[in-house]
């Protein structure tokens, strides 16, 4: 039995690794532990700020878009696709490491390739999500007028819903021409959509009368910290995914050039694998903190 051997071995008598582990792999574990503290500190800082606010945006309201689905309200749909992409790419990485244990070069190449594809797919999804959040403008009530703002580092359109229709109607009088044109186009009274060109020629007073304010779902501005934390933490995670993809590509090239075959072992694949699983592990917590709770 392996356990009895372990028990009888004098681990600390020198000449061997007391942790029964090769140096590089052990150091990869300690790097990952320190990285876990970095991510942990970011997420806890986010939690601390979130608990210090009276209002925090509901993730199901913020993250409800899906590529190609237009304005359909699909909370959690896209992020679950991203989560499954990372889980599957973690599984292909396990298979690559296993192929490495057997010295199966073709197997390593095949599964590393699919892991890289998974990583790139995840990065693509994240790029789409960021682009959608930054450029998608939403109507908010600020200082007695209505503005169109996207989710950026300095602005947050996901405040509480404004239910005071008199305040909103009054705010229309102070709203810019451009915003009024947009609102009259998106939320017309009676539901008949008028072309943008025609609306642009109308006066502000006319336009204000054409906006169906009760259906525009106008919100207050939300906590500004939301954007910084969301882009900062998902960006830092995305940077890890990116560097993981780069490392995996290097490992794939080295495998193809028979570097590991000549060395007699595929331990580098194992170390790259640890890093890749860690990226998946961090996403599990990012997913929890930003999208689920």
């Amino acid at each position: 039995m392996a356990t009895t051997t372990v028990h009888q071995t004098k681990w600390w008598s020198g000449g061997k690794s007391p942790f029964n582990m090769e140096y590089g792999k052990l150091m990869m574990w300690y790097f990952l532990m320190s990285d876990a503290f970095t991510f942990g500190a970011f997420l806890i800082s986010y939690g601390s700020i979130r608990f210090s606010q009276n209002f925090w945006p509901d993730p199901n309201v913020v993250f409800n878009a899906f590529p190609g689905a237009g304005h359909a309200n699909l909370p959690l749909a896209f992020v679950s696709v991203m989560t499954f992409i990372l889980i599957i790419s973690s599984v292909t990485m396990v298979l690559a490491v296993h192929a490495g244990h057997k010295g199966d070069k073709e197997g390593v190449i095949k599964w590393m390739f699919w892991t890289i594809i998974g990583g790139l797919a995840f990065l693509g999804c994240q790029a789409w999500e960021w682009h959608h959040l930054i450029t998608g403008e939403h109507a908010v009530l600020v200082d007695g007028k209505i503005d169109l703002i996207g989710q950026t580092m300095g602005g947050n359109p996901w405040g509480d819903l404004v239910e005071d229709n008199t305040a909103l109607t009054a705010a229309l009088n102070n709203t810019s021409h451009e915003t009024l044109v947009h609102l009259a186009h998106e939320y017309p009274t009676g539901g008949t959509v008028v072309a943008m060109e025609a609306l642009e020629k109308m006066s502000d007073g006319q336009l204000a009368g054409m906006v169906d304010i009760t259906h525009a779902h106008i919100r207050e501005t939300g906590p500004i910290a939301f954007g910084g934390y969301f882009y900062g933490i998902t960006g830092f995670h995305g940077f890890h995914v990116f560097s993981g993809v780069v490392i995996n590509i290097i490992m794939l090239i080295m495998t193809q050039k028979d570097v590991f075959k000549n060395r007699g072992h595929y331990l580098m694949i194992e170390k790259a694998g640890l890093y890749w699983h860690f990226v998946d592990l961090v996403w599990v917590f990012v997913f929890l903190c930003f999208y689920l709770i």
Binding site: A2, T5, V6, T9, K16, S17, P18, F19, N20, M21, E22, W29, Y30, M33, G40, A41, I44, S45, G47, S48, I49, F51, S52, Q53, N54, F55, D58, P59, N60, P75, L76, S80, T83, F84, I87, I88, S90, V91, V94, H98, H101, K102, G103, D160, E163, P223, R263, G264, H265, L267, G273, L274, H277, F278, L281, V284, F285, L288, L292, I293
Partner: protein, 152 residues
């Protein structure tokens, strides 16, 4: 397979045969997927509760707690099965796991700090409370105060 370049490694891990390995990986993948699906279902349940007439704050909190526990379960499976930490020797596992125990203090302390800052500001900075408290909560918070007064 032996690792000739690493003589300091005494006991080489016994790698399971293909069938056992595939079974283990498949089992873990299915488990992770099922946990994720349950998490998504809870997320959508929270969304429907929020949309409802009078959201039950305690129920939402319980669901959020359940999601946190499920996430920890997922993390455990990723680390112990995919990263093979469970197969390493005990001393090595402890050097990784014991420092991570700091998170217990870390999370409690900083969440409590944030919460306390909110309470202090709501007490002493009325402008902060008026400008940031959601309208619905204003009404909801006003009611219990009246009840309290009635009892006394």
């Amino acid at each position: 397979m032996q690792h000739p370049a690493f003589e300091e490694v005494t006991v080489h891990h016994h790698h399971e045969d293909d069938a056992t390995f595939k079974k283990k990986v498949r089992k873990t993948t299915i488990l992770l997927s099922i946990i994720t699906i349950i998490e998504l279902a809870i997320g959508l349940t929270i969304y429907t509760i929020h949309k409802g007439e009078s959201p039950n704050a305690l129920l939402v909190l319980m669901f959020k707690g359940a999601v946190c526990i499920l996430t920890l379960a997922k993390a455990y499976y990723i680390v112990s099965v995919f990263m093979h930490l469970g197969d390493e020797i005990r001393n090595m596992i402890m050097t990784i796991v014991v420092p991570l125990m700091l998170f217990v203090w870390f999370i409690i302390a900083f969440i409590a700090d944030g919460n306390s800052y909110k309470n202090l500001r709501n007490t002493y900075d009325k402008h902060f409370e008026e400008t940031t408290m959601p309208a619905k909560h204003h009404k909801a918070e006003a009611a219990p105060v009246e009840n309290k007064g009635g009892k006394e």
